[in-house]
Amino acid sequence: MNFLTEPIRLLGAQTIESVAALGRFGIFLAMAAAYAILPPYKPRLAIRQIRLIGADSVFLITLIAWATGMVLGLQGYNTLRRFGSEAALGTVVALVLVRELGPVLAALMVTARAGSAMAAELGSMQVTEQVDALTVMAINPIQYLVSPRIVAALISFPLLTAIFDVVGIFGGYAVGVGLMGAPAASYFNGIVDNLTPHDVATGLWKSLVFGLTVAWVCCYKGYHAARMATGVSQATTEAVVLSSVLILLWDYFLTSVLL
């Protein structure tokens, strides 16, 4: 009988474990959120994280945004020319950036740069018992380590996304107008006329959701790193992969909801 019941038992155990893991994941965020609101307030911790997540990512974001804008300018110009609507280049570049590529690419780049660092830092703190050391000193490690990172991500992601959008639009201008010769005046006029507050709000919502997701996943994975030699590297890999996948899934979901 055992060989018949065993698969069912395993399936049940797997299901229970998955649901429990999801529960732990949720409780982790709830605690971090609660401790972000409860005193004592340590704004300097959040400010330090804004520097690490936000300010230190500005150069990378600018670089990627410029490159993305250039490609959009080139592809957009060549495509629009077939329909004789080069004048719409600015609108196309801006819409694509503000609604989709800005939030998504900024989030993916920050995941690679700051998210991985977050997971690795918390992971090594967990593995070397620094997290326990905080608890022993009666300092709540979630409040001290996780809440500031989540707050910082919520502040940094929209700002980085905004930088990405603006730089990208200028990148598109440089190639589309400067190099390929699309009409200069209609590039920015088109953006002003056609980009609605709703488009901007869509991008903003996305960046907030992505920021929360990345900080949540990366902190969770790092915080729960296994106490063994490969614990930190494994946590970091899982954090980056899961964050990236969730960003893309959320993006589709949010696009369909906010459309």
Partner: protein, 275 residues
């Protein structure tokens, strides 16, 4: 001597820590198997045993980093097994802990590490914090290293910093997890002496986990030998070190403890004193 029991009445306060029938499982693995142990006030109680036998897990139960599946813990006679988090923070103030790997914050300097509990938990003025930190660093022989980072100093110095940090809030009970692991014999001896001096000077109760035998016995008052999640021997250091127990002797000789030796079901000569 009364034997420890689950009721709260008439708890003796001669003991800084009493652990009664503590059991802890991780999944299906029983890591602590009905551990009963008493740590007298003002003395060093040393827990020795092969690695993986559950020493660190036991130590982390003493200051509530881990919670037991069953059993009770008394600190200064107070049952702390089922206290809330907020109350636990109060009891935690009695403890200083030195972790196995030091657990220094590697983004902070030596000074900031030692000052950390004061900066985060108190409203002391900067000058007072500085005074206390310098005093503790001097006590562990580390003047002049204040502005170095943990990665820039030797393993022995890291242990000293960790000890200074454990002492900064003037604890009554010191928990030390393998303070000499990874050090050469000379440095181990120096750390052992430092621990003994500090403990006697401040009149601390200490629980020391180590597998640095027999050196660690020189600074121990009570010794517990832990084996496979159980306290196998417990008593005064002189009695335990001469105990006629084959598994303990094999451990002292640094031998791998054979499985068949266990199956002999040898009865250890010394039981936990309290039974």
């Amino acid at each position: 001597m009364t034997s420890p029991s689950a009721d709260n009445a008439n708890r003796s306060t001669d003991y800084a820590i009493e652990v009664w029938e503590l059991t802890r499982r991780f999944g299906s693995q029983v890591v602590l198997d009905r551990v009963t142990l008493r740590c007298p006030r003002g003395l060093i109680t040393t827990i020795v045993g092969p690695s993986g036998c559950g020493k660190t897990v036991l130590l982390k139960h003493l200051n509530f980093l881990l919670r037991p599946n069953s059993g009770k813990i008394f600190i200064d006679g107070e049952d702390v097994t089922s206290l809330s988090w907020r109350e636990l923070d109060r009891v935690r103030q009695k403890f200083g802990m030195l972790f196995q790997a030091g657990a220094l914050f590697d983004s902070l300097t030596v000074f900031e590490n030692v000052a950390f509990p004061l900066v985060e938990r108190t409203r002391l003025p900067r000058s007072e914090i500085e005074r206390r930190v310098r005093e503790k660093l001097a006590a562990v022989g580390l003047e002049g290293a204040e502005h170095k980072y943990p990665s820039e100093i030797s393993g022995g110095m890291q242990k000293r910093v960790a000890l200074a940090r454990a002492l900064i809030q003037d604890p009554q009970i010191l928990l030390l997890d393998e303070p000499t692991t990874g050090l050469d014999p000379t440095r181990s001896g120096a750390i052992h002496n430092l621990i003994r001096q500090t403990q006697q000077r401040l009149g601390l109760s200490a629980v020391l986990v180590s597998h640095d035998v027999p050196q660690v016995f020189h600074i121990s008052d009570k010794v517990a030998f832990m084996y496979k999640g159980k306290i196998r021997l417990y008593g005064d250091v002189g009695d335990v070190t001469h105990a006629d127990d084959p598994i303990f002797k094999a451990f002292l000789a640094g031998e791998e403890i054979a499985e068949d030796e266990e199956s002999l079901q040898t009865k250890p000569t010394l039981r936990v004193e309290a039974r």
